[in-house]
C-alpha cells in the first residue's frame, strides 16, 4: 500500500515539477500520515490544494468586505482567504496613523454630524467604481448606516480620501451602489425621519417622516476622483424603510431599483404595550420595490424642479410621482437584496419572510409604465405597477431567501437562504432550483467573483455567515464571523474553506480580479496622501528646520533608517507644537512610525509621505519619542526627546557630558571593523552584479536602496575622516560608527537581494 502511494505521488511530483523520486516518495508517505493524524478526507485534501497559497504566491481575486460596526473595510485574498488589510474608514486606526495625523483627521472631520465628532461607523455595502459596467479597480465606496455617510477609498494606496454626510437622511442602510459608468452612487434611507433637522412627533409619521434615495455625483479626471456634493441630489420617497438598491445596466441603464420593508408604516412602542416594530413591520404579505428613472430625475433637478432642503437638491415625492420618476411594485415581504442581472433585464428580489425569490422583468416594467397600466397609487400618489404585470417568474427556494449573486454561466444565480442556512443555486431563466448546499450558519449576503458587474466571473462564492457558533476555537462570548468559500466552478457547489473574521461584522463584500488592482508601493516624495497632492510641508534631506514663533514651535523634520531629524525638540509649557515629518525612504515596505509619550501623537509614514501632528504641551517634563516600526537592526535607537520647560525657564550653563569617551584607539578599531565590513559588502555586491539581477525587478529596487545606503555610508565616512584629521576622536569615532551603521544596512539589503537571486534561479553572467 505505502509503496503504491509513494510511486503515484512520486509520479505527480515527477510530472509537475521534476522532483527526485526519493524526495517525492518521502513526501507521499508523510501526506498519508498527516491525513490520518488530522482526520482529513480526500475532499479536504482537494480543498487544501485549491486554497493553500505557498510563500510569495498570489491570490486570483481580492475581496473588499465591509467591517460592519468596526467602521473599517476588510481586504482579503481569494482563494487563500488570508486577510491582507483593514482599511481605516470611519473609525480612527492608529497603525495607519488614521485619525492621528492632521491630514487624515481632516478626512474624518468631513464626517462630523451636526458638528459632532463621530469615532465609528457601521459600514455595510462596499462598491467598486465601474467603467461600462465592469469593475475598473480605481475606487471603492462604502456607506455608514448609523450616521448616513459615504466614504471614498482610493485603490491606488488603499486609503480613505473623502467622507460625505447625507444632508437629509438620519439612517442609511442601502449604499453604496454604483452606476455602470460611475456617474452616481446610490445611498438609500432606512428608518424614515423628517428631512429637516427639527423634532417632529411620531404622531406625524405618515405626513412628515420621509425616506428616499440620494444620488451622489462622482467625478474623476486624470486619475483623481471625488464625490461632488453640490451636484448630488435626493429623490424623496414615502416613509417606507428603503433598503438595498441596484443600478440598472445594459437593458435597464438609466434606471435604478430600491426595495423596502415596513411599508405598513408601523410605529412601534413595546414599552407602551404596543406590538414591537418586528410585528408591525412584517404584517403585510408584500412591500414595495421602488423603480426610479434616475436620468429623468437628474434632468429635473438640473432644470430646477427640485427643492432645497439643508442646502441640498431634493425631488419631492410629489414631483417624483407626478413626473414619472418613481414607481412602485409589490415585492415579497421584508426583502433585502435587489439584484439586476448582468444583461440588465432581470431584477431579482427575495423577501426574507417568503420562501420564493421573484424575478422581475425590466421589459414588462417598462411596458406597464408605457401603457400607464397601474393597479393604483400609494397614499403619496406614486403609481403602483401590479406585481403580476412586472414579474417574469417566482421560484420556491427555501426559508429566508435574502440576496442573489450571478454566475458567469448564463441564467445561473445563487441566493442566500438565511433561515435554512443554505445557498440555493438556480436557473432564473427557467425558474428552476438546481441545488442547495448547507453553510454554517445563517447566511446574510453572498458574493461571487465580480458578481455585481456586467460580466460576473463565477468561480468562487463566499457565504457571509452571521453566526459562527462552533466553527472555530472559542474566543469568548463575542464570536468571529465566518466567511465560507464555496467552489462554484464545477457542476456541484463544494465547500472549500472556513475563514474567521477577527474584527467587525461584514455585511456585504465585493471581489475584483487581482490583476485589475495596481496599487503604488511608494508616494512621490513629500506627499499628502489624503489630498493626493504635494504637501506644502514636505522636507528634503538636509533641509530640516525648527521655526519658533511666540507660543509655537513648528518643525519640518524627516525620518530615514535609523534616525529622526530632529532628535531634540525644545518647547515651553503652553506651546503649540506643529510637527511635519517626511519619510525620505524610497524602499518598498520601509514605513516609519512616530510616537511621543503622553501626547496621543502617533504617526505612520509610508515611503514618501508627509504628515503633520499638532498638539499643545501642557505640562513640563521629558517626553521620549521614537519610531514605532521595526525598520532596521537599529530601530530601537531611532529616538529623540521632546523637552518641555517651565515658562520662563533659565538655562543652566553646561554642555552634554559624554557618557562614554573615545580615543584614537577606539577610532582605529572602528575603522578596522568598517574595512572588514566593506569586504562583506563588496562580496555581496560582487555576487549580485555577477548575476542577471536586472531581470528581477524586486532585486533592482533592493540594489537601488543598497546604493542609497552606501552613499550615506560614504558621507559619514567623510565626516569621520575630517574629525580624525582634526584629532577630534570623539566625533571621529562616532561618525565612523555611523558609517558602519550604513554599511550594516547595505549588507542587510544586499543579503536579502542575494538570497532572492539564489532562490529564484538567477544566472551567472559572463
Amino acid at each position: 500500500m505505502r509503496t503504491q502511494i509513494n510511486r503515484v505521488l512520486t509520479g505527480i511530483a515527477g510530472v509537475c515539477l521534476g522532483m527526485s523520486a526519493a524526495t517525492a516518495a518521502t513526501a507521499a508517505t508523510e501526506i498519508e500520515k498527516v491525513m490520518k493524524d488530522r482526520g482529513l478526507t480526500e475532499k479536504n485534501l482537494l480543498a487544501a490544494a485549491q486554497t493553500y497559497t505557498p510563500t510569495g504566491g498570489r491570490d486570483e481575486y481580492i475581496a473588499f468586505a465591509s467591517g460592519g460596526q468596526s467602521g473599517h473595510v476588510i481586504v482579503y485574498g481569494i482563494p487563500s482567504m488570508r486577510i491582507l488589510k483593514y482599511i481605516g474608514v470611519f473609525t480612527p486606526e492608529p497603525w495607519q496613523g488614521y485619525g492621528f495625523d492632521e491630514e487624515s483627521k481632516a478626512v474624518l472631520a468631513q464626517g462630523n454630524i451636526h458638528g459632532k465628532e463621530i469615532t465609528y461607523g457601521d459600514t455595510h455595502h462596499p462598491a467598486f467604481t465601474e467603467t461600462k459596467g465592469e469593475y475598473d479597480g480605481q475606487y471603492l465606496f462604502i456607506n455608514d448606516k448609523a450616521n448616513p455617510r459615504i466614504a471614498l477609498i482610493d485603490l491606488k494606496d488603499f486609503e480613505t480620501k473623502q467622507i460625505v454626510v447625507n444632508p437629509v437622511f438620519k439612517s442609511s442602510h442601502g449604499g453604496a451602489f454604483v452606476s455602470p459608468n460611475s456617474e452616481y452612487v446610490i445611498e438609500a434611507a432606512q428608518y424614515p425621519a423628517p428631512f429637516t433637522n427639527e423634532y417632529v412627533p411620531l404622531e406625524q409619521f405618515n405626513e412628515k417622516y420621509r425616506g428616499g434615495m440620494t444620488y451622489w455625483k462622482f467625478e474623476r479626471k486624470d486619475g483623481h476622483g471625488r464625490i461632488n456634493v453640490e451636484k448630488s441630489f435626493t429623490v424623496q420617497a414615502p416613509p417606507y424603510s428603503q433598503d438595498l438598491s441596484d443600478f440598472g445596466k445594459n437593458a435597464s441603464d438609466g434606471w435604478s431599483f430600491t426595495n423596502s420593508f415596513c411599508t405598513e408604516r408601523y410605529v412601534g412602542g413595546i414599552e407602551k404595550g404596543r406590538p414591537p416594530y418586528e410585528a408591525g413591520c412584517s404584517q403585510k404579505d408584500t412591500d414595495f420595490l421602488h423603480v426610479v428613472n434616475w436620468r429623468k430625475a437628474e434632468k429635473l433637478i438640473r432644470a430646477g424642479k427640485g427643492v432645497r432642503i439643508n442646502d441640498h437638491d431634493v425631488l419631492t415625492v410629489e414631483t417624483a410621482a407626478k413626473e414619472g420618476v418613481l414607481f412602485l411594485i409589490p415585492e415579497p415581504k421584508s426583502p433585502h437584496g435587489v439584484d439586476v442581472s448582468p444583461d440588465g433585464e432581470s431584477i431579482i428580489v427575495s423577501g426574507k419572510l417568503d420562501t420564493h425569490t421573484s424575478v422581475y422583468s425590466f421589459a414588462k416594467i417598462q411596458k406597464a409604465i408605457k401603457d400607464k397600466k397601474f393597479e393604483g397609487k400609494d397614499p403619496y400618489g406614486i403609481p403602483i405597477i401590479k406585481m403580476q404585470d412586472a414579474l417574469a417568474r417566482q421560484v420556491e427556494l427555501g426559508l429566508g431567501p435574502l440576496h442573489t449573486q450571478y454566475d458567469a454561466k448564463e441564467c445561473i444565480a445563487y441566493t442566500s437562504l438565511y433561515v435554512d442556512s443554505m445557498v440555493g443555486k438556480w436557473n432564473y431563466c427557467e425558474g428552476k432550483l438546481l441545488e442547495k448546499i448547507s453553510i454554517h450558519y445563517n447566511i446574510g449576503h453572498l458574493m461571487t467573483m465580480e458578481g455585481d458587474s456586467v460580466s460576473p466571473d463565477g468561480k468562487y462564492l463566499v457565504s457571509l455567515n452571521k453566526l459562527a457558533i462552533d466553527r472555530f476555537n472559542p474566543v469568548g462570548p463575542l464570536h468571529p464571523q465566518n466567511h465560507q468559500l464555496i467552489n462554484i466552478s464545477g457542476d456541484k457547489m463544494e465547500l472549500m474553506y472556513d475563514m474567521a473574521i477577527p474584527l467587525g461584522e461584514p455585511h456585504y463584500a465585493v471581489a475584483i480580479r487581482a490583476d485589475k488592482l495596481k496599487p503604488v508601493i511608494r508616494y512621490k516624495s513629500g506627499w499628502n496622501s489624503r489630498t493626493d497632492s504635494r504637501s506644502k510641508f514636505k522636507t528634503r534631506a538636509g533641509r530640516e528646520k525648527t521655526v519658533r514663533t511666540p507660543g509655537k514651535v513648528e518643525i519640518f523634520g524627516t525620518t530615514i533608517r535609523s534616525h529622526i531629524t530632529p532628535e531634540t525638540i525644545e518647547a515651553e509649557v503652553g506651546d503649540e507644537i506643529v510637527l511635519h515629518l517626511t519619510n525620505l525612504e524610497r524602499a518598498q515596505d520601509e514605513t516609519h512610525g512616530f510616537a511621543i509619550y503622553g501626547h496621543n501623537v502617533n504617526l505612520s509614514l509610508e515611503p514618501g509621505k508627509t504628515v503633520t501632528a499638532r498638539f499643545i504641551v501642557e505640562k513640563e517634563g521629558v517626553y521620549p519619542y521614537y519610531c514605532t516600526e521595526f525598520c532596521s537592526a537599529l530601530h530601537l535607537e531611532m529616538e529623540g526627546y521632546l523637552l518641555v520647560k517651565p515658562k520662563g525657564y533659565k538655562a543652566v550653563a553646561g554642555e552634554i557630558e559624554e557618557g562614554t569617551k573615545y580615543t584614537q584607539a577606539d577610532y582605529d578599531k572602528q575603522v578596522k571593523t568598517n574595512v572588514a565590513t566593506q569586504e562583506v559588502v563588496d562580496s555581496v555586491v560582487a555576487f549580485i552584479t555577477s548575476h542577471n539581477y536586472k531581470d528581477f525587478p524586486e532585486v533592482v529596487s533592493l540594489v537601488e536602496d543598497a546604493t542609497d545606503q552606501l552613499g550615506f555610508a560614504t558621507e559619514a565616512k567623510t565626516k569621520s575622516e575630517k574629525f580624525a584629521a582634526d584629532k577630534d576622536w570623539q566625533n571621529a569615532t562616532l561618525w565612523a560608527g555611523q558609517w558602519w551603521q550604513y554599511q550594516v544596512k547595505t549588507a542587510d539589503i544586499g543579503l536579502r537581494a542575494k538570497t532572492f537571486l539564489e532562490q529564484n534561479g538567477a544566472k551567472k553572467i559572463k
Copy 2:
C-alpha cells in the same frame, strides 16, 4: 499515469476514511490537476495538508500576538493561521463597543496619562499568567511602549479588564514578563528619563535621567485577578536603555534578567550636527545584562528601604547596588531578547550587532556573586561581573541574532537572525549550530509553542517578520506583516505557511495549548464584564423602565431577538441620557449591537451583558436607533427612535395614526399561517426528539434557545387571542404577527439543530 494516481489516492481514502473507490478516484484526478494548475509542489501539498483546517475543525494552539501600534492584541490559531479575534486593549474598538460603553470607558480611563486621554497604545510583549512555570490559561498581560502601561486581559471572555500606568517611567519596551507563579509582572524602562515629572535638561542626563524595572504585583483569588498597584515597586537602574527581560525559573527562580542598549549613555542631536543616536548608542562592543535578585528587592521594599516617588515605592540604584539586588554583566552590543532556558540554568542573549549568541550560566553568575568576584563597578556603583566569569559559551549563528525560543527537545533552541533573514536552530548545551532556514523577510521575534514556559512543546515555530515586501498581493504602500509558520517537529525545519497580519505590527507573540483555554460563551444575566460582577443596572424582561428627573432621562432597557425595549426614548434638548441595556439572550453567539444616529453611541451586548451609554442630547430632532448585529431574519426591524424636543415643547394632541389598518380577515389569515408554521415547528421538534440529540451539547443549547422562543410565541399568542376576544383586530393581528415572528425564530434554530444532527451522525432513538 492517471490510473495509478487514482488507484493510490483511492487507497489513501480507503485506508483513512472508508470512502468509495469511485469518489476517491475522482478526487485524486482533481488533486493532480489542481497541483498542476496552481504550480504546487509536493512539499506545498504536504504543508497544505498540515495546515488546512476543515469546517468546524479546531486548532492545536492559540497564539496571542501584540498588535503593535494598533493597540490591540491579535488572537490566531495554529496550524490553520486563521486570525480569530482582535481584542481591544489600549485603542477604542467599536465592534466590541470598547471605549463606547461606560463600563469599558472606565477601563480605558485608567490609562490616562497625566489626566490626558490616550486613544492608542504601542503594544509589544504579551505574556500569560503561569502556575509553577506553566501557562495556566487564565490571563494575559501586554505592555504599551509609547505610554508605559500594562493591560490585563481575562481569557475567560477575551476582554481587557485593567490598565495600570507606570508611575515613574516615560517609555517602556520590555514588558510584560511573568514570574513562574505570576506573583509579579516586569515592565522595564526603555528611553531614560527623570522619574519625577519635571523638566530636566539633557545636560543632566547622566545625573538625573534613570532607567529601571517595575515589578507589578499580581493577585488572584477565586478566579478573579488584578494588578495591585499599591504593592508594586520599581528597582531603579542607570540611564542605560533597558530592554527585554525574563524571570528566572526552576534553578534561577527568585531572580530576573533585563538587558539594555546604549550603555554608552549617548545623547544624540543630529539637528545640531552631533552623530545620531544610532551611532552613539552602538559604539561600544558590549552593553549590560542586568541581574536582579527580585525576592530580595521585594523584602527591602516591604522593610521600608525604598523611597516614594510619585506615590510609588522605588528602590534607588544606590540601594539596589549596595544591598546586592542589582548586578551587571557585559553582553554583546545592542541585544534584544534575554531568554531563560526551561531548566532556568541558561540565560541566552544575542546582540543584534554581533554574530554570536551568548549562553550565560546561572550557576556561574551565582558563584561570582557569592565570591564577590567583580571586574569593577559601573559609574553608579553597581558591581560588574566579568563576562568570562558568567558565560557558559558563545556560538556564532549569523548576522543580527535577536531572540531565542526553546524546543521540547533538550538543549535545542531557535534564534532569529534579523540581518540574515533566517532562523538558526542550535544546541545551546554543546554550542553547535545545527541548521538555518530562510524567512521572508527580516525576522524580529520568533515563537515556539509554550516557548516561554518551563516545558516548551516545540512542534511549531512562528517567525514574526518585520517586512513582507513581495509576499502577498499588493495593498498599497503600507504592507501587512508576515508571520511564517515553520514545522519544527522533524529533524529539519520546514516552512509551512505565510500569514498576513492585516492590522497592526506584532512584535512578540505567545502560544498556548488550545485545550487550556476555557472561555465562557455567555455572561451571567445582567453582568458588568469589565468589573466581573453583577451590574447594578441589570434589567430583567418585563422590568424595563424609564426614569425621568430634571435634566436627565435614565433608561433601564433590554434587547432580545428582535426588539429593543424601549422602542421610543423621549427627551428635551440639553437632557443627559443614561441608557442601561441588558441583553436577555442566553443563546451562544446571539450578540446584539446598539447604535444611535449622530450621538457616537455604539454598544456591543454579548449574551447576558449589561452596558451603559451616557450622552447629552444637544439638538432637537429625530434620531433613529437600531441593533447593529444581524441577529435574526427580522434584525432590520430591531429599531426605535430617540426624539429630542425643543425645550418647553407643548405636545400637539393626537395619537399615532396607523399606516395600515387590519380587519378580522387579516387576523384569521395570520392565524392560519401560524397554524401552518406550527406544523413545521412540530415536525422539526419531532425529528430532534426522535434522535439522540442529548448526546450533542451544541444541539442541547439550541433546543434550549428554541424552547425559549416558543415560550415567547405562546405569550404573544395569548395577547393576540385576548385582543381578538375584544374584537380589537388591529392589536389582535399585530400580536398574531409577533407570535409568528417567534415561530420563525424557533424554526430557524430548530432547523440549525436538525442540520447539525443530520451532518454529525445522530441516531434515531426508540
